[in-house]
Symmetry: C2
Subunit: 215 residues, 2 copies
Amino acid sequence: MRVLVPFEATRPKTRLEPVLDAAERTDFARAMLRDVLGAVLDAGHEPDVIATAPVSLAADLDADVPVAVDDRPLSAAVNARLDADAGAERPVGVVVADLALATAASARRLLDGDGGPRVVVAPGRGGGTNGLVVAHPDFRVDFHGISYRDHLAAARSVGADVRVVDSMRLSTDVDEPGDLAEVLLHGEGAAAAWLRAAGFELEERDGRVGVRRPD
Amino acid sequence: MRVLVPFEATRPKTRLEPVLDAAERTDFARAMLRDVLGAVLDAGHEPDVIATAPVSLAADLDADVPVAVDDRPLSAAVNARLDADAGAERPVGVVVADLALATAASARRLLDGDGGPRVVVAPGRGGGTNGLVVAHPDFRVDFHGISYRDHLAAARSVGADVRVVDSMRLSTDVDEPGDLAEVLLHGEGAAAAWLRAAGFELEERDGRVGVRRPD
């Protein structure tokens, strides 16, 4: 299956500003993208990066992954590729680029499945949507707001069967400093390795664990 | 399978103090316990509550769920029941009582499985452990600190095969005000109903969704 992977290449991961400078955020975002592409490829699917600016992936991956530059907002860029007028095939997958915990097994739980005019949704924490499989011709995405709830409603409104994927790995998009602890705990790829090389380590606190970066 | 469900009955959910008073925290904790017990029962297993003080569940559940009062710390109370000297059967499950998103399907992903001297772990966010299946005779629990990491190490040190359950529902224990948004988004049981009846609703914010409670 073709799997769209939208990537903010211009100014990625701004909410990590408290712990990473701009160059580091760019590097870390690229490491997460690499993990996501690797998971999709290892699951046997074909990722297609939609980036806001040119990105060269040759050094990151053995496989040749196409990159389309599209500076429209995320939802518009994805929907342009879902438009039937454009001769879009179905099903099409969508996976966000900051799933540093993604593995081939978790990607398969989203992307593999039976046929039919369905929509498969992998929720993100806080009401977001981290993955979709769109098999119904009339479904369009809207990542703004409480998109998980909105995508379920949109799928039902076009008469699509809905399946929700219950995956911690797919629900963990990495946006905020607290999310880095999950990467160190559960990440198996480039993003976790990048954080460790940058000096991040787990820090025990009351309640949930955090990260620290000793000098 | 017998599934231990430890329950803090004396002063539950103190980290929800910013949004719920003491009586509400008790009510809400009971609603979450009910959801967990219902999920375990519907999955075809036998929950056994270990409470720090007497709790009557008759009004909450159709089934007759035994409650043992044990005021030892969590890990000691669970390990007492894993001690081979006590003639403990294997496998034994452990599920924390604040999984307001638990469903029969997610409980089955933890509790159902093949045999062998294994340990199954359902990680919680922030390095915690929200569920275990203990089939190996020598494994003991320690919920203190970064227990997910410690449980994996402990399982390996006794030579147990380890399986990790990748479930957003099982990873979402409800401790902090921000977690209530997940209950409103994904909860299907008593805890979500309790929150709605108490006036909580989702609130869109920059980034992730939160909750508000209009007067």
